[in-house]
């Protein structure tokens, strides 16, 4: 029997309403690089959070055996003590502190009354040379690139005497050269006896470094492939990632397509803070009346940014390109202008940018179109009541009454209130960003019915979703987006999960 450094046995983790992990088993041998792969929401990050103690012992079922001992991590500090270090996709560095200060944040050298800066920077420099980063440790984090920041994180982990490294999407924001350098570093660590788990969407990276690949799907382990033993081709991996059956979870609708109502030409958007980063790159899309179009892509593909920049330039800077509504070039410079031109954007994050949680259902429903329930800026509360009740009934929102605070509703019902708000704005074009995120299956179906009803009324819908079955099940036409660019367009008939995944992954390799 092989010598397993880590065994995770029958891990089950429940979140309110969903089973994030369902009887997951993972075995990692000492001194190997083990890749964890799966779609968004497959449970990769959750599993790693369980391992590193972010979800404490007792909040999940099952056992973690590390180095022969059953582990009961209560905090991330416990797992660090055992020698496990996790590097998250979003780097946890303080931009206005120096490299050295960041590396010893929370473990400052010296004592409470006096930090030993000489030791701090000396040690930091040693660790930096270990990862091959030749920077002065006095440099501020904000002044070095993302690739180097990633290396600082790794050096920081090395400083904690980690023997087990977890990297969550380490190359997601790196360019080709930096990625290569990072992966080579991992291979060198491996030769020195380090054990590594790497989570990545980039199959080329995985092919390059991984000894074993474990595929997760819908919170369960599907299989573990060993390099040199099993077939580790891309096609094989993709099949493992998406190989679920499409059951009849999507209501059918009559096809009816009219003229082009929305067209976006050569749309380029830059990141609001980082002015050299293109978030959307030369995007061209069309939407016809009565059509449901999907934009598929992984997290960070630029879908939300595209939608928000169309919706009255609510995101990004230096937006260039042409927006045509009903064939006429239109400039939308504010959310208000977009709403006035009958566009609605239903945000992916209903809690932080969709609803006013402290307000009742009634006031949230009318917020985007108060002019319809007011006269000379004076609200007609009777009318508002009536409208709110009408939509609550129509969408079957479960609530104690329209004066219930939205914050106390369940996720699915909050989503319905958000939809009511935008349906009340009477748009011709609805952009739905992750319309069913965090909602249970029954309510999902209801939301699909609502979408179909809107289409039947002659409205057009643009769905942004990272759930492939949803995109395939609901959309007449699908754009595939990756790294800010549209990399493919598929009709419903020719779309399947393998094709979409392959389009994304191949485009990533070419870049």
């Amino acid at each position: 029997m092989a010598n397993y450094l880590l065994e995770m046995k029958h891990i089950t983790k429940l979140f309110p309403g969903t089973r994030a992990l369902d009887d997951v088993n993972l075995q990692v041998e000492e001194g190997e690089i083990h890749a964890l792969i799966g779609e968004n929401g497959a449970g990769k990050s959750t599993l790693m959070n369980v391992l590193s103690g972010i979800y404490p012992y007792g909040s999940y079922e099952g056992d973690i055996v590390f180095d022969g001992n059953i582990c009961k991590f209560h905090t991330i500090k416990d797992s660090e003590k055992a020698g496990i270090a996790i590097i998250h996709q979003e780097l946890a560095l303080v931009p206005y502190l120096s490299i050295g200060e960041n590396m010893f944040l929370g473990r400052e050298r010296g004592n409470v009354l006096r930090v030993n800066w000489n030791e701090t920077y000396h040690k930091a420099a040693e660790l930096l040379s270990l990862v091959g980063l030749h920077e002065d440790p006095h440099t501020l984090i904000k002044d070095i690139g993302v690739g180097k920041q990633q290396l600082v994180e790794i050096a920081k982990a090395m400083g904690k005497a980690a023997k087990f490294l977890i990297l969550d999407e380490p190359t997601a924001s790196l360019n080709e050269d930096d990625s290569k350098r990072l992966l080579d570093l991992l291979l060198r660590f491996k030769r020195q006896g380090m054990t590594i788990i790497i989570i990545s969407h980039k199959l080329s990276d995985i092919e390059y470094v991984a000894d074993k690949i474990t595929i997760l799907r819908d919170g369960a382990t599907i299989e573990t492939l060993t390099k040199g033993v099993d077939d580790c081709s891309e096609a094989r991996i993709i099949r493992g990632m998406v190989g679920r059956e499409l059951s009849n979870r999507f209501p059918s609708r009559e096809k009816r397509e009219g003229e082009v109502i929305l067209e976006v030409r050569d749309w380029t958007v830059y990141h609001p803070l980082n002015e050299n980063q293109k978030v959307c790159d030369n995007v061209n899309i069309k939407l016809r009346r009565g059509e449901v179009v999907g934009i598929s892509g992984l997290m960070g593909a630029g879908r939300t940014e595209l939608a928000m920049s169309i919706f009255g330039k609510s995101y990004g800077r230096n937006i260039s390109g042409t927006l045509l509504l009903n064939g006429k070039e239109t400039h939308l410079n504010s959310a208000k202008a977009a709403i006035d031109h009958k566009i609605a954007y239903v945000t992916e994050d209903r809690k932080t940018s969709g609803l006013v949680l402290g307000m009742p259902i009634r006031e949230n429903t009318t917020l985007a179109m108060l002019s319809k329930v007011s006269h000379n800026k004076v609200l007609n509360k009777d009318m508002e009541n009536q409208v709110a009740r009408e939509y609550a009934d129509k969408l079957r929102t479960k609530c104690s009454g329209i004066d219930q605070q939205v914050g106390s509703l369940s996720g699915g019902n909050q989503q319905k209130v958000l939809l009511s708000k935008w349906m009340f704005a009477e748009p011709e074009i609805l952009i739905l960003d992750e319309p069913t995120r965090g909602i249970d299956v029954g309510v999902k179906y209801e939301i699909y019915l609502i979408i179909n009803q809107l289409v039947a009324e002659g409205k057009s819908v643009l769905i942004l979703s990272s759930e492939l079955p949803e995109i395939i099940g609901m959309c007449d036409r699908i754009y595939v987006m990756n790294e800010g660019r549209i990399v493919g367009e598929l009709m419903q008939a020719e779309a399947n999960q393998e094709r979409i995944m392959a389009t994304i992954l191949q485009s990533g390799k070419g870049a």
Partner: protein, 390 residues
């Protein structure tokens, strides 16, 4: 459950009642007169008129997201100085002076609002700067001296009573009660009318018991106050001004589109923006309005003290902010009512007044007020946490 909710919603009103009774007991036992002496009630209105006005404006600022305005005391001093210079020194027409002062206040507010809303400089910093700037200008305008007295022609709009000073005692009482009763009748008529409308359209209305209780309570308070005022000199003109201001701002916050925008912005600015609300304009409006109300308060204050002093308005911003928080406004914005802020202002006023009658050292008075503010807000925060946990 229902009664519990009603109690919870009106905690401050109940606390106000308790504090009043407490002071009354202490004052009567100490044989120092009565909190409810006719002239004292009249005084309460005069003493706190400026707090009520400022609290209404401050509430709008706080609603936008916990932003406060630290400059109001200095604005009161500066606008007061302008009023003194125009009316007393230069002898400019009174009405013209009033208009100029109000416009000046709005302009000051707009200036600060510009930096806060469009340049997005934190309100705390902009108004801290304003606190120094306007106080400085007040000192410059007055040359460090106090201007007084104001002509009777001006002060009569703020300091007098209805009916006039030469009316007989009986006429005073009768007029006051007549006004009070008409107010009650009007209120009852409006409430009953809106209830009938609600019922007819099939909307949910509160229980008949609660409805009657509320109306009765309101009328009882109005009549009781009028009774006491009638025994003194009648209805202070300032009370009418206050009633108008409070009514307008209650209406603005609860029944108009811009009012709704205030709450939406404070509740979730991002969601408000994506709903097509120009949040910059909302913020700008709140601060411009604060400047306007500060100048109104300045006009009231110079009349009450019958002088324009460079030190006028010191700590007024603190009184206004405290009133809002005691009245249940959230320090993070999005919740709070004008009515609550007014109750908070009265609460502070009663504390001041009661402690003064009891002869408590003014240094200790500050201590007590500070503790009351802390306890009131802590109570609110903790009770909210608990209700969330359940």
């Amino acid at each position: 459950m229902a009664t519990k909710n009603i109690l919870k919603k009106n905690t401050m009103l109940i606390a106000l009642g308790v504090v009043m009774v407490l002071f009354q007991v202490l004052i009567v036992r100490g044989d120092k007169g009565s909190l409810f002496a006719p002239n004292n009630i009249s005084n309460l209105f005069f003493q706190n008129s400026y707090v009520v006005i400022l609290a209404a404006g401050m509430l709008l600022c706080i609603l936008t997201g916990g932003n406060i305005d630290l400059s109001v005391g200095s604005v009161v001093a500066f606008v007061g100085a302008m009023a003194g210079t125009l009316i007393v020194t230069k002898g400019v027409n009174i009405y013209l002076s009033i208009v100029i002062c109000l416009l000046l206040g709005a302009a000051i507010g707009a200036w600060q609002g510009f930096w806060i809303a469009y340049m997005r400089i934190p309100a705390f910093i902009v108004t801290l700067a304003g606190m120094l700037v306007w106080r400085g200008l007040a000192l410059v305008t007055l040359g460090g001296l106090t201007i007084s007295p104001f002509p009777e022609e001006y002060t009569r709009y703020f300091n007098t009573f209805i009916p006039g000073a030469d009316a007989s005692k009986a006429t005073v009482f009768r007029t006051t009660m007549l006004v009070a009763v008409s107010v009650c009748v009007l209120a009852i008529a409006l409430q009953v009318f809106s209830r009938i409308q609600k019922k007819r359209k099939g909307y949910a209305a509160e229980s008949i018991f609660l409805f009657l209780f509320k109306l009765l309570f309101l009328c009882a308070v109005v009549v009781a106050i009028a009774w006491l005022l009638g025994l003194h000199k009648g209805i202070p003109v300032i009370l009418i001004l206050l009633a108008i201001v409070v009514f307008i701002y209650i209406y603005y916050t609860t029944s108009t589109v811009p009012g709704r925008h205030l709450y939406a912005m404070g509740g979730n600015e991002k969601a408000a923006q994506l709903s097509g609300i120009n949040t910059n304009r909302v913020l700008f409006g709140a601060y411009t309005n604060m400047g306007f109300l500060s100048s109104l308060a300045a006009l009231v204050v110079v009349s009450r003290f019958n002088s324009a002093a460079p030190t006028a308005g010191t700590n007024y911003e603190m009184d206004a902010i405290a009133s809002c928080y005691i009245g249940g406004a959230s320090a993070y914005g999005g919740t709070g009512t004008v009515g609550g802020a007014v109750i908070g202002a009265i609460f502070m006023g009663v504390l001041n007044n009661g402690m003064s009658i009891l002869g408590i050292d003014s240094n200790w008075q500050r201590f007590v007020k500070g503790m009351v503010l802390l306890v009131a807000v802590a109570f609110d925060v903790i009770s909210k946490k608990r209700s969330k946990a359940v």
